[in-house]
């Protein structure tokens, strides 16, 4: 009897301690999300009635389907190139070359700096009159015109890679450093050259880590907002479209429908990420 009450009291204390966090979660995330879901089923500008029109329009209208297509292409492109950049980088940094700390720190720059500022810097750097083009025009004699990067899709992917590859790179580096060197040495003694050790031993062993990192990069690219807002020009991925739909066209219900789709997609990716992370090696 006594222990029963004791248990009840302990539970109550826990609940009281948790309540500020729960209040914050429900008030600032859950309830707004719920409201967004409800709004997405309301006719535009009304507080009553139910409709699926916004979803139908969002998924049916080619212009809106293009938005989804763009969002996915950007995210996939960013992920692929992030892996291509991260693998050699992580392989080199793993050997702890001189200046290793500086290089590792610079990986963190995109994660730590406000994306808005990174976007500004990228726009300046890649503009037709910026350093990137100045450099290219200097070293490539056959190049007569500056290359257009800003406000193009390849440019956006380039920016996305800059912003979001650290997630892939850091997880790749972490899984590389968790590898037991003697396994690679064993393969080398057995007659495998560097490339074959990489292909047959290292890559299969770090695959789960690289995969987890890629999913993270993909999620970040999929949800990116401030960067495409500033650097996208006429290209508006989902997040920017939601913002424009709500604040420019004042179509809150349509925007809400998109937000719901986006949130559900992101939760799906999150679930995949959790699965990938927890999968044991081999």
């Amino acid at each position: 009897m006594n222990s029963f009450w004791h248990k009840q009291r302990e539970g109550l204390i826990t609940l009281v301690l948790l309540s500020p966090g729960l209040a914050g979660f429900f008030g600032l995330f859950f309830y707004p999300m719920l409201l967004t879901v409800i709004l997405s089923f309301r006719p535009e500008g009304r507080e009553v009635g139910w409709t699926l029109a916004h979803y139908a329009r969002f998924l049916g209208d080619p212009a809106f389907r293009d938005v989804l297509g763009l969002t996915f292409s950007l995210a996939v492109g960013a992920t692929v190139f992030s892996v291509l950049l991260s693998l050699p980088l992580a392989l080199v940094l793993r050997e702890k070359p001189k200046g290793n700390r500086l290089f590792r720190l610079s990986i963190l720059l995109p994660m730590m700096m406000p994306h808005l500022i990174s976007a500004l810097g990228l726009l300046l750097f890649w503009s037709k009159r910026g350093w990137a083009n100045l450099f290219l025009l200097t070293v490539l004699p056959f190049l007569k015109e500056p290359v257009a990067v800003n406000y193009t899709i390849p440019g956006l992917i380039l920016f996305y890679v800059w912003l979001f590859y650290p997630y892939t790179c850091l997880t790749t580096l972490a899984s590389l450093e968790a590898l037991d060197r003697s396994i690679e040495e064993a393969a080398e003694v057995a007659g495998a050259n560097r490339l074959r050790v990489l292909w047959h031993i290292v890559l299969p062993l770090i695959r789960p880590g690289v995969l987890a990192g890629s999913v993270l990069t993909f999620m970040m690219a999929f949800g990116a907002f401030s960067v495409p807002l500033v650097t996208g020009g006429n290209y508006r991925p989902l997040s920017v479209q939601i913002f424009t739909q709500a604040t420019l066209y004042l179509e809150w219900s349509a925007a809400s429908a998109m937000a719901v789709v986006m949130a559900m997609a992101q939760v799906t990716f999150l679930t995949i990420y959790m699965r990938v992370l927890r999968r044991p090696i081999a």
Binding site: L22, T36, P97, G99, R104, I107, L116, L122, F125
Partner: protein, 282 residues
């Protein structure tokens, strides 16, 4: 025979150095790729008549900073930003202290799921629930108030504070407290001499990160700000939109300072891999 030997050795050595050269040019290129956007912002904010197509401005000036201060009213905006960040830090910490304690030290069924839920706002694009937050805040007349914008920031800052503090509290060793009691410390003395020094770094790092989150926050602010609550990131965004690149650069340099400070702290102690799970750029 001997001669061939030395030849082979020399060749091996030259291959080796060619490889190092390759590695270092790759790393150097990477470093430049990472830092040039910030460098160019920096030069742009001090350069006069620098329309690109040159490596550096020909003349230097402080005009843009003067502009930012006098025309764009940066002191007022800085005040807004700091007040909002201050409120956000206080609310987040007040939420995170009890909740973090409960999550870190008390028995909670389904703790893992609860933690995941609380972290959800950080893992899902802010724009998806920013709509709902804005909608609610319009109803409560919280839009364009310091408290309102700060509360919107809390949605993103509190989960991180809870994560950091629960980890801090969890790592508190019960035996240390018992040891202090055995040594004859009263509960109050135990708290001030034993617990506080142990949890202070955690609380401090939680405060620093919540502050930076709020200071750099853009998405939620964009949905809840008004003429009286323009923050530094929003003002920078507006300046970019207006096409004042140099003034935007000057603002960006001001905006970047806390992030640089954090980067400095990180390079002194944290392992970057730890950031991947919980921390997301703004």
């Amino acid at each position: 025979m001997m001669c061939a030997m030395t030849l082979v050795r020399q060749y091996a050595r030259s291959v080796l150095s060619a490889k190092t050269l390759l590695v270092y040019s790759f790393l150097l290129g990477f470093l430049l790729y990472m830092v040039t956007p910030f460098l160019i912002i920096f030069f742009n904010s001090f350069g006069k008549g620098w329309y690109g197509m040159r490596w550096l401005p020909q003349e230097w000036t402080l005009n843009w900073y003067q502009w930012a201060i006098e025309v764009a009213d940066i002191p007022e905006i800085m005040k807004n930003t700091l007040v909002i960040a201050g409120i956000a830090v206080v609310i987040s910490t007040l939420i995170a202290l009890p909740t973090g304690w409960a999550l870190g030290r008390r028995h909670i069924p389904g703790k893992e799921l609860l933690t995941a839920l609380i972290l959800l706002p950080r893992m899902i694009p802010a724009i998806t629930f920013a709509l709902g937050v804005a909608k609610i805040f319009y109803g409560l007349h919280l839009v364009d108030t310091f408290l309102g914008v700060a509360l919107a920031h809390v949605a993103l800052a509190a989960p991180y504070a809870i994560l950091v503090l629960s980890a801090t509290f969890e790592s508190l060793d019960e035996r240390v407290l018992e040891a202090s009691a055995v040594c004859g410390a009263s509960p109050a003395q135990g708290f001030f001499y034993v617990i506080l020094p142990l949890i202070l770094p955690g609380i401090l790092s939680s405060i620093i990160f919540t502050f930076t989150t709020s200071y750099n926050e853009f998405t939620m602010t964009l949905m809840t700000y008004g003429p009286h609550t323009v923050t530094l990131p929003v003002r920078t965004y507006l300046a970019v939109g207006e096409g004042y690149w140099e003034v935007s650069s000057a603002m960006a340099v001001i905006l970047i300072i806390p992030s640089l400070f954090i980067l400095f702290l990180i390079q002194r102690q944290l392992q970057p891999e730890k950031l991947v799970g919980g921390f997301k750029g703004v």
